[in-house]
Amino acid sequence: MKDERTLGEVLLAKGVSRRGFMKYCSATASLLALPPAMVPRIASALESARRPSVIWLSFQECTGCTESLTRSSSPTLEGLIFDSISLDYHHTLQAASGDAAEAARHAAMEENRGEYLVLVDGSIPLGNPGYSTIAGISNVDMLKETVADAAAVISVGSCAAFGGIPGANPNPTGAVAVNELVKDMPVVNLPGCPPIPTVITAVLAQFLTFGQLPDLDHYGRPRAFFGQTIHDRCYRRPFYEQGRFAETFDDEGARLGWCLYKLGCRGPITYNACATVKWNQGTSFPIESGHPCLGCSEPGFWDEGGFYQPISTARIGGGTALGTAVAAGAAIGAAAAAMSRRRQAKTIKEG
């Protein structure tokens, strides 16, 4: 089961030319957001790289992340990368099922002890472990067992990274993110609903190429992809500065491609690479398609109020609370005045 060949050997065996390999390396550099000048270094690193074993665990999720990842038609460059890892367990994709599947997982763990990567999509219910089980094993148990000898964990998608929809208010299953359970090893968060497939492959490529995990921000997200906001890289940004906004989805501004801030765009507070990497083989991204960013790669994005509420809208209570405030102010003010008047009356009486 364990493949000892280097990536160079695998590609050569497939009859890929050196030019093809260079083209692959350029794509990898681009994927890792590294400058093209890095291509020779990547080439030499990849030649001797060995295929890491990957175990993919799916918990409370919708399979959207896997869909996103497999949406790219094979064989593409991303697909090639999947050729270059050994995806030893993925209960949606693998042919094996039942005991055989679980056996494959145990075998992969055994053979690659301390070196394999665990990819997780979906959140883990703590409210009642029985809410989500695979082969009779609760999610939390399977996670703990699987990560025990892993090199690192990659949380794919907002559910695994931050709790996502299952963790949204009122969180009936007590869903938590992976990094709330896995504390003693590196956890890379690749949030997004779904995450950009290229970002998943890029992290794998990084691990494959340099044997290390990327530089992470305070939410455990790779800085190379989550270092800047959508707003910062948005081609509609100049319209924001000019004060030209679409007011509705079908007005003149919307047709002219003006800024979607007023329609609730979360671009300014959402860190992701959608505006540059884009989706569907670089075709487009939500804003380019005329819809504001929902901020799906930010923690708790489901609980941030209406998607179409501008971000500068205050998240505060309604009119009754303010009415109470007015009444309270009136009561205190009237009491203060009454007290002063009593002091005056006393003075006048005393002369």
Binding site: G243, G317, A325, G329
Partner: protein, 217 residues
């Protein structure tokens, strides 16, 4: 995001409540004090119209005083107009108000707002320096004056930093900006910034008292 959530949630909410409670409290605490009727025979009509007259007329310094107060009034005008522009004509702010009161009005391009913001901040500094050096202002100034200055300038400065970033995350800066507004709202009714609403009452009172005498207002 946690700080931002706190800022635009509980912090801002507290600020708004404090603002509303404080404003009503202060106004009623003043207006419900004993009022003495004026039995003198009026020369002209007083009342609300007289109040409105002085509320608007006192916005302009009388010609006779203009030269002596030129520097301070120009700075004062620029500060107030600047504050008005950045508070009410910046699109994200308008959307904030829309969320609050449901009304919306056209804004200005952000670059204009940034420019006005810088001018306003500069004028704020000039006014502070004047307060710290002018013998009259030095004498009559107290904690309220300086604290109110800080509280007023903080949202302008924090707002201006947002597009610059200085390597700080957007939502952190936004959160700090909103927190500074929460502080401003909380303080406003309790200190001299209350002149934002008291000005109508003090000018109006003078209008009603002096206009009915036919005296100069």
């Amino acid at each position: 995001m946690e700080l931002l959530d706190f800022a635009r949630g509980p912090a801002l909410q507290f600020g708004l409540y404090a603002f509303v409670i404080g404003t009503v409290w202060r106004l009623l605490g003043i207006l419900l004090l004993a009022a003495k009727p004026d039995h003198s025979a009026p020369r002209k009509r007083g009342g609300i119209l007289a109040a409105l007259k002085v509320i608007s007329s006192r916005s302009v310094t009388a010609r006779e005083f203009r030269q002596d107060t030129l520097y301070a009034s120009v700075l004062g005008y620029v500060l107030h107009i600047g504050l008005f522009v950045i508070v009410f004509l910046f699109v994200p702010h308008i959307l904030f108000f829309k969320g609050l009161i449901g009304l919306e009005w056209p804004g200005l391009p952000n670059n204009v707002i940034y420019f006005v913001g810088v001018i306003t901040a500069g004028v704020g500094v000039a006014l502070l320096l004047r307060r710290m050096t002018h013998p009259v202002l030095k004498l009559i100034s107290n904690f309220d004056d300086y604290f109110s200055w800080v509280v007023t300038m903080a949202p302008i400065i924090t707002g201006l930093i947002i597009p610059i970033r200085f390597g700080i995350r957007y939502e952190t800066l936004l959160a700090i900006h909103i927190l500074s507004i929460a502080v401003l709202l909380t303080w406003l009714p309790f200190g001299k910034l209350a002149h934002a609403f008291l000005v109508f009452f003090s000018r109006g009172t003078t209008g009603m008292v002096l206009e009915r005498r036919g005296a100069k207002t």
